[in-house]
Amino acid sequence: MSQEMLYCAAGIALFGIGMFGVIVATHIIRKLIAVNIMGIAVFMVLLATARHGAVTDPIPHAMVLTGIVVAVAGTALCLWLALQIRLLGRGTKGEPPR
């Protein structure tokens, strides 16, 4: 198995793990970690693809760079929302947030 294939396969495995995590985990931070793992998985496939040909292809690199920033942005937004919910939850001792 070539290096590129190996990382491709590993990427897909990671993707599966991440997806499982997203579905199964309940804690918001774990879910987000899982999402980020899925992101890393996709990046891995992309970067492995970049090594597909003879020369390293810069376009997947650019894509991954963009992807990383987007992932951080998404994570931050989710965390912020979770914090907001938590803040509101402190005020009202009621049903647990779902």
């Binding site: 294939m5 491709c8 396969a9 897909i12 495995a13 993707f15 599966g16 997806m19 499982f20 997203v22 579905i23 199964v24 985990a25 309940t26 804690h27 918001i28 774990r30 879910k31 693809t49 970049a50 597909h52 040909g53 003879a54 020369v55 390293t56 292809d57 810069p58 376009i59 690199h61 650019a62 894509m63 760079l65 963009t66 990383i68 920033v69 987007v70 951080v72 942005a73 998404g74 931050a76 937004l77 965390l79 912020w80 979770a82 914090l83 907001q84 919910i85 938590r86 803040l87 939850g89 647990p96 947030p97 779902r98």
Partner: protein, 251 residues
Amino acid sequence: MFLKLEFKENQATSGELSTTTRVLLAIAIVALGTSLIYAILSAGKAPPDLAAQVAEKLDLSGVGNPVTAVLLNFRSYDTLLEVAVLLVVAVAIMPPRLSSSAGKRFLFVNDTHNPHVPDPILLNLLKWLVPLAILLGGYLLWTGAYSPGGAFQAAAVIAGAGVALSLGGRHKFAWEISGVRLASSLGLLVFVTVAATNAFITGTTLQYPIDHASTLILLVETFTTVSIATILLLLFAQLKSLADPPGEMHQ
């Protein structure tokens, strides 16, 4: 999947699904993944990818680093939208109120009320680290044109410095909010302006005139770096200090 969202610390890693369901789920995912891997393995020879084209056109791009060329010239539209994505999150998270008592300091004020005594070693370290990080950021920005590095990396390093400063305990964030708004949208503004100017000069949006390409790209990169660094720092700051009652954030 998303019905139960927990925020408090809990021990269980998987609260809502029964073991059977989880096992079935795992089987399904493994099956999907296996077939995907099979599909990849069974794929034929490598397609003609774009590496050659990039190499060919690199000279026309105004930068030497192919990744930067792709990011800021060939596919600069993606980058433009990406900065906009960051702006989305920045705006979403941005504290709504103006900080009236912040003394018009842009980013940090000395946090004299902090009862925790900061670690002096850390403080000393920070004294060196922060300027160094900013310097490193500038270097990365500059060198991005020819070797690995660029706006994102530079911004990340600078933001990292800010994070470290805030973790040091002596300083806390104090946003002059209209300044932050300006800073976070500055990169985008410059980007759009350059794109529009390009349209006037070359007739095509985002097409750099070959002679000025490197200059313009550096310009865009610089302002983008400022914006991204601000936004990243803002994200951290907001997540870190959100628990403060809104009105008392800055005294």
